[in-house]
């Protein structure tokens, strides 16, 4: 499969594949080498991380025992995986450090019902969309006192951009 464009200036791109299971909320790691998805397995939503280069699933030490609600998000190398889980009729945000095998539970301010999360590539910050009194709200939180940074290549490794 390829990605074609209406514009002639966009070249046809080679496909990396199609995942045919019933799955949702695909999220790439910053380096594009890992993919996190929510897969419905016999009515139970679980989060999976796949190494796209080797095509194999990567282990998540803690997340298999939780009912994944959705919105996985990976840091640059895929070391950190943030996801919303369902626990005791409540939605919670957790972050698994896949390198150290640790689970970090994120304690949100009261009255926050998390809907979506997005980790920054270096895992220094996390953006959380919550429902507060029926309104969507996005807040950004600092994680520096909670987890180590993920390794992100320097600016020279990324295509340049200007404001």
């Amino acid at each position: 499969m390829s990605l074609a464009s209406c514009s002639t200036s966009v070249k046809t791109a080679p496909s990396l594949g199609v995942f045919k299971q019933n799955q949702r909320d695909a999220a790439l790691s910053g380096n594009g080498e890992n993919l996190a998805i929510i897969v419905d397995q016999q009515g139970r939503a679980t989060v999976q991380v796949q190494d796209l280069r080797q095509g194999k699933f990567l282990p998540t030490r803690h997340l298999n025992r939780y009912q994944a609600h959705g919105s996985p998000s990976l840091s640059w190398t895929g070391r950190y995986l943030a996801v919303i889980i369902q626990r005791n009729n409540r939605r919670e945000v957790i972050i698994e450090d896949r390198t150290k095998g640790r689970l970090h539970r994120i304690q949100l301010p009261i009255n926050r019902d998390p809907i979506r999360v997005s980790l920054s590539p270096d895992a220094r910050q996390i953006a959380i969309q919550s429902s507060i009194q029926g309104k969507w709200r996005v807040e950004v939180f600092d994680l520096r006192q909670k987890i180590d940074a993920d390794v992100v290549p320097g600016r020279e490794a990324l295509p340049s951009a200007s404001q």
């Binding site: 200036s9 199609v18 790439l28 790691s29 920054s120 953006a127 996005v138 006192q145 404001q163």
Partner: protein, 171 residues
């Protein structure tokens, strides 16, 4: 005798509880996180509601709603100001999903316009918005762009199932 019993009891408590504490401590790191109050205040007051965040080191892109109209908003985290993205938001289109590259240069967008769901790639420096087409028919619903803006994952609805299409984008 009583002293020996006390020592033995203390040892038992130690050997039972210490590994338990280690396990709990190693697996479940609690604690609160620090809100970025200045930025969050701006995010709160600058729109009626906001959703679908995609966070990069220096950029945050969201779908914001003001006066009942939803639009894509790109925020420079250093200046805490919205950056102009000419051509991205149209009065006749509703954005559904957005994802940005790490340097804020490329944005993958899904939007609904005139009963059509469009998959688009925006190049900010060039100011171009290009429509991308899935080769196999489906309805795109969510996008995820990698940090370099080169790999794109698209959640697609086909025959009542969600699938994920992966593509490598050209320069």
């Amino acid at each position: 005798m009583r002293r020996n019993l006390k020592i033995r009891l203390n040892k038992s408590i130690f050997f039972i509880y210490f590994p338990l504490l280690l396990i709990l401590g190693g697996c479940n790191q609690g604690g609160s996180i620090q809100p970025l109050n200045g930025l969050n205040g701006m995010l709160l007051t600058s729109s009626n509601s906001r959703k679908e965040p995609d966070l990069e080191r220096n950029w945050l892109v969201t779908l914001s709603n003001s006066n009942g109209k939803e639009k894509i908003e790109l925020i420079n985290l250093r200046t805490r100001k919205a950056i102009p993205i000419p051509g991205v938001n149209r009065p006749d289109a509703q954005p559904l999903s957005v994802s940005i590259s790490a340097n804020g240069e490329r944005m993958a967008i899904i939007r609904q316009r005139a009963n059509q769901i469009e998959l688009l790639l925006y190049r900010r420096r060039l100011g171009t918005l290009q429509q991308l087409e899935l080769k196999r028919k489906g309805i795109p619903r969510k996008v995820s762009l990698d940090g370099k803006g080169r790999v794109l994952a698209v959640q697609v609805s086909r025959d009542g199932l969600w699938e994920t299409d992966l593509f490598r984008l050209s320069n």
